[in-house]
């Protein structure tokens, strides 16, 4: 009978702790890289097609990255144009919000017996608890925005280099495996990249269909 020794169990537990702990602490490095790697697999077929038409590796990679940039810029432009429209209505929105708040206050004083003045006082107490919080929030937001910007640029650089050096990287993996397993490794690489490509293109197409569906649903007159 095969027995499970304690040291074996400890090895398994240690393995999981190290994997997930390592992933957790390596997030700032690994997250942009992982996203870039997935995007590289998404653009693999397009880059390959361009190269078949005689475009050089460098140019085809550049075109793929450029396409991604244009798509992202387009979405950001669309969203920010809409946000501008929303911020134009801001005074009206504020009025609506304060109206709903006073309604809510009335509801609370009806049901819980706390008058609007008392509620106001409670809110003030809550706020004064975190004195100078707004300054902290602004710094935090600025920090996270600059962090996201740096990560995005990093992801683009990784994406470019991963696409550009893909043959090099693939040969490295194939060099690692012993000769009798080379064919298997090749199959794994091609299948894995295909799965990610299919998943991401599918996701992209689904999002576009959802835009149309939500767009119609949300703008339909009620």
């Amino acid at each position: 009978m095969k027995t499970v020794t304690l040291s074996k169990a400890i090895q398994v537990i240690l393995f999981f702790v190290l994997v997930f702990g390592g992933l957790y602490f390596a997030k700032p490095f690994l997250a942009p890289f992982a996203i870039a790697a997935l995007l590289a697999l998404l653009f693999l077929p397009l880059s390959g097609k361009l190269e078949k038409k005689g475009v050089s590796r460098g140019l085809s990679t550049f075109l793929c990255v450029l396409l991604l940039l244009i798509v992202i810029a387009g979405i950001v432009a669309l969203l920010s144009a809409q946000v501008a429209g929303i911020s134009k209505d801001l005074p009206q929105l504020k009025e609506n919000v304060s109206k709903s708040i006073s309604q809510l206050q009335g509801f609370i004083s009806d049901k819980a017996g706390i008058s609007p003045q008392e509620q106001q006082k409670m809110m003030e107490e809550q706020k004064s608890g975190g004195g100078g919080a707004s300054g902290k929030i602004v710094t935090a937001i600025m920090g996270s925005i600059s962090g996201i910007l740096v990560d995005t640029i990093l992801a683009f650089v990784y994406l470019f280099l991963l696409l550009y050096l893909r043959t090099h990287l693939k040969s490295f993996i194939l060099k690692l495996v012993p000769p009798e397993n080379k064919e298997n490794a090749r199959v794994i690489i091609s299948k894995a990249s295909k799965v990610v490509t299919k998943y991401l293109t599918g996701l992209g197409m689904m999002i576009m269909m959802l835009w149309v569906m939500y767009g119609i649903g949300f703008s339909l007159p009620v």
Partner: protein, 153 residues
């Protein structure tokens, strides 16, 4: 044409396109994304002074879109390429969120799909590939490997 659009946007939610794009984009984050998007849209509709009919209309839209997505779009577009059973899909997304936050949830499913393929092709890891995989896909895999066998001959 302009009149028609005006009429649409006055009657529906203001900046409907913005919310449509947002809800679509949030689909990148599995499970939570579409709920967050719809919740935000409802909140904004209320602050815009929309009544309960508008909220109900948003919820109806959400339900219809969810239905179409799960039963028509997903099988058609994303397909059965990613053979992971629901248990591990949810688990990997939760783990992804805990370890990496939002990027973790985005990366989780494709990473697990790659992991499964690696497991499926390395003899000692095969049970784990089977564990992650969806039930009843065994026959399909057999057909697949048969075809592969023919092409090799």
């Amino acid at each position: 044409m302009g009149n028609v659009w005006n009429w649409f946007f006055i009657a529906g939610i203001k900046n409907a396109i913005f919310f449509a794009i947002l809800c679509g984009l949030l689909e990148i984050i599995p499970f939570i994304g579409n709920l967050a998007g719809t919740g935000f849209t409802i909140l904004m509709a209320i602050t815009q002074g929309g009544g309960s009919t508008m909220v109900i209309a948003i919820i109806i839209t959400y339900v219809i879109v969810q239905f179409v997505q799960t039963y028509i779009l997903e099988p058609l577009v994303v397909g059965s390429e990613v053979n992971i059973n629901p248990l591990f899909t949810i688990m990997v997304i939760v783990v992804g969120e805990l370890v990496w936050g939002v990027p973790g949830m985005v990366v989780a499913i494709p990473t697990l799909a790659v992991f499964k393929i690696i497991c499926d092709h390395i003899e000692p890891l095969k049970p784990y590939g089977f564990l992650i995989g969806s039930e009843g896909k065994k026959d399909e895999e057999n057909i697949f490997s048969k075809i592969k066998g023919w092409s090799k001959k």
